[in-house]
Assembly symmetry: C2
Homo-oligomer: 148 residues x 2
DNA sequence: CGCAGATGATCTGACGTCAAACGAAGAATG
DNA sequence: CATTCTTCGTTTGACGTCAGATCATCTGCG
């Protein structure tokens, strides 16, 4: 029930980029808060999810696909490995790279975390109807150059 | 001509929040690049624009409305003042706060910078038709709780 | 008035992100 | 094979952001 209708709406009206960035910042905050509740960082979650769906990957592949800097990926994998969620095995065909592999504990951790995602998404985007969410997804897809 | 159709599209499909954040990151990069070309930071531009449209403000008001941290606003105003784009006059009714005021030079600087904005926006959102841009603006508005 | 608490601007310290440099291991060229 | 170049993972250093402390000023209350 905030009583502050001022300059921003006008700005958002003429600057689509600013509106997009602010919406993203809001959503990112929600994601971080939710992740903290699960005691599994957003990056860690995404890494586990990708390993789960596409199988063992190099840190390089994880970095590029998830757009997480290589140096950040190091500590994400460190933490996941310390928690027993992944193993770092050397790729026998290229001993420079790892084959980061999800463990049973990691799979377990992932499915647990995944259970809370629908509720989190629903809450974060509760201002939009299901149709509108689909619209938004489509528009963002186009913006990101996703072929589909 | 990139030949990398892999995991991300699938992720973006089921995680609207991730899609939103990545789109925002892309747009923010474009904004920074464009701002660098204008040698006027995004924050500085927004401050000038707000001062231009709503008149003199305290740094507090600028901070809250533009969602820029107070401590960051200090250096933004420092730089703008050093360049002669704003003046910091004490608010006579409350000498704790400034009345940050745009100068003629600042106005000039702003209108110059504003001229390049339509082209920048058009380029950044070229993947969307005008109708789709309007749709996106509407959806983001709802998400941000803008009354309209 | 005199004092406690709130508020605006500023400064400082901690944190996360990212670019650049590095070492190890492969690929390519002669 | 040797030399050069590239790639993967890691470390380091710089930078921007933000929370908390600080100082000056204002407000409210006795």
């Amino acid at each position: 029930m905030q009583v502050r209708p001022t300059y921003f709406p006008q700005l958002a009206g003429e600057r689509l980029d600013i509106a997009l960035c602010r919406a993203s910042a809001t959503v990112a905050r929600a994601a971080d808060a939710h992740a903290a509740g699960q005691s599994l960082g957003v990056g860690q979650h995404l890494v586990l999810k990708m390993l789960y769906t596409v199988g063992p990957c190099s840190q390089q592949a994880l970095s590029e696909e998830l757009r997480i800097d290589r140096s950040v990926m190091v500590t994400i994998c460190d933490d996941l490995e310390r928690d027993g969620c992944v193993r770092r095995e050397r790729n026998p065909h290229d001993r420079r790279s790892y084959a980061v592999t999800i463990t049973d504990a990691g799979r377990q951790r992932l499915v647990t975390a995944e259970r809370s995602i629908p509720g989190y998404l629903d809450d974060t985007f509760k201002a939009l109807t299901p149709d509108e969410r689909t619209q938004l997804a489509t528009l963002l897809g186009k913006l990101l150059g996703i072929s589909g």
